[in-house]
């Protein structure tokens, strides 16, 4: 399984952009927001947690259809299915690779970009913690979505329509944690929920994704 993860990482880097593209998109969205809502510091502080989370969500979303695309195109997907490694582990490996190339850089970069939006100082640890718990769940759910739409021609748009509603709880709890933490309120409850969602998706999504892959490979 480690081999699979490393292979995907190498492919991501070689295909150009791997780590960088998601991060660049994240940065661009953050920079665009003040142009859209005005530079007033107080306003930016209020919306910073939400914007950071939405941007992270979109950045994660953009690279989802690549999860299985390369394997589908060169025909190695059926091979992966019949490999000695269970398909559930393959799905998990794909999710992990996606997280390493997207979720992890985003989580690390978010505090750095928070200052651009005048994020309240107290919010930083909550933002970081929330993203650390939430981005793996985003990758896992995204892998399920990518499995559903593998091989479809306009798959990218459909993928977004299917996956974004699934992302809503994570967004709500993550942004709430950052917001409440920033206001100095008690913010452990949403973080606990995020943890729960992360564990739940870790347990269930590989099975759901594998099931869907098997259906698509018939």
């Amino acid at each position: 399984m480690k081999a699979l993860i490393l292979r995907d990482l190498r492919l991501a880097i070689r295909a150009g952009g791997g780590f960088g593209l998601g991060l660049a998109f994240f940065l661009i969205v953050i920079v665009l927001v003040p142009f859209g809502v005005g530079p007033e510091a107080a306003v930016l502080r209020r919306i910073a947690p939400g914007i950071l989370w939405v941007a992270a969500l979109l950045a994660a979303l953009l690279s989802l259809d690549r999860i299985f695309a390369l394997d589908h195109e060169d025909g190695s997907l059926p091979l992966l299915a019949t490999a000695p490694l269970p398909l559930e582990s393959v799905a998990l490996a794909k999710a992990i690779a996606h997280w390493i190339t997207t979720g992890l850089p985003l989580t690390l970069a978010a505090p750095g970009l928070g200052f651009l939006l005048n994020l309240s100082p107290a919010a930083y640890p909550w933002l970081f913690g929330g993203l650390a718990l939430g981005t793996p769940a985003l990758s896992l759910i995204g892998t399920f979505g990518a499995a559903l739409t593998v091989g479809l021609r306009r798959g990218g748009l459909l993928l977004s329509l299917l996956v974004l509603p699934l992302y809503v709880p994570i967004l709500i709890f993550g942004a709430e944690a950052a917001r409440r933490g920033g206001d100095g309120l008690e913010a452990t409850v949403p973080l606990v929920f995020l943890g729960g969602i992360a564990l739940g998706t870790l347990a269930l999504m590989p099975f759901a994704a594998a099931l869907v892959l098997r259906i698509n490979l018939r």
Binding site: L148, L161, L162, P165, V168, P169, I172, E176, F193, I215
Partner: protein, 246 residues
């Protein structure tokens, strides 16, 4: 003589043919009767004025929006386990009905909210949950359209329905957490004191019955259509194969 006999498409169509007009008729009766009763023969609420009359549309449609999805969930499970095509087709048939119900609930909710809350749209937990449900319905219908092979489409949409149900439930709690909201408490709970006053209750029940019957009638009609579509495809396939052989 078990219910599974009706899983046979031909038998399903045969059985429902005489039933359909009666179901529609009864639905129309309950709906028109209930709405007229509620609209013309109930008083205004002392707090909400005449807008309380919107309850006869808002509550039944909201109930059906949820129940339609639940029916799709059950039908999806039956398809995955027992592979009855009628079940998969019924789930597909129910989705547009569910989406319309959700839309009616959202529109009536927003219109009702405007004079009451002073705003055309409020991110109230229940309204927001219905908005999310609307998106789930759209995704489900889009997936059916996107997949070429009908059996694969049935399988994938069934899994989506199941996964979606889990997340829809999760969203409900998340949204409640996110915004404690302006919605009034349960109008139909079993606790008699919290109930909407009796004088509104009975016409409301009639409207709910009407909506339920309308849902059943529409799903029966649409499932019959889907069964026929499947049959047409099979006939076309057979014709093409016959041509290829000659």
């Amino acid at each position: 003589m078990s219910i599974w006999e009706y899983a046979n498409p031909k038998k399903f169509v045969e059985t429902t043919t005489p039933l359909l007009p009666w179901t529609f008729g009864l639905a129309g009766l309950c709906l028109v009767g209930g709405l007229i009763w509620g609209f013309f023969f109930t008083p205004d609420d002392y707090r909400q004025g005449a807008t309380v009359k919107i309850i006869y549309l808002h509550v039944p449609s909201a109930l059906m929006a949820i129940n339609a999805w639940l029916m799709m969930l059950v039908a999806s499970l039956i398809w995955l386990v027992r592979r009855h095509h009628v079940s998969a087709l019924a789930a597909r048939a129910a989705a547009p009905v569910g989406v319309t119900m959700t839309l009616v609930a959202l529109v009536t909710g927003a219109i009702w909210g405007q004079p009451m809350w002073g705003t055309w749209w409020a991110w109230d937990p229940r309204l927001t949950s219905f908005l999310i449900l609307f998106l789930f319905y759209l995704g489900y219908m889009a997936l059916w359209e996107a997949i070429a092979d009908p059996d694969t489409a049935a399988d994938l949409t069934s899994v989506l329905c199941i996964v979606g149900s889990v997340f829809a439930l999760l969203s409900r709690y998340a949204v409640n957490f996110w915004n404690q909201g302006l919605h009034q408490g349960a109008s139909l709970s079993l606790d008699a004191e919290k109930n909407v006053a009796d004088i509104f209750y009975y016409p409301l029940l009639a409207c709910i019955a009407g909506f339920v019957l309308l849902f059943i009638a529409l799903v029966l009609m649409r499932t019959r259509t889907e069964i026929r579509v499947r049959r047409i495809r099979a006939l076309e396939l057979r014709a093409r194969r016959a041509e290829a052989r000659t």
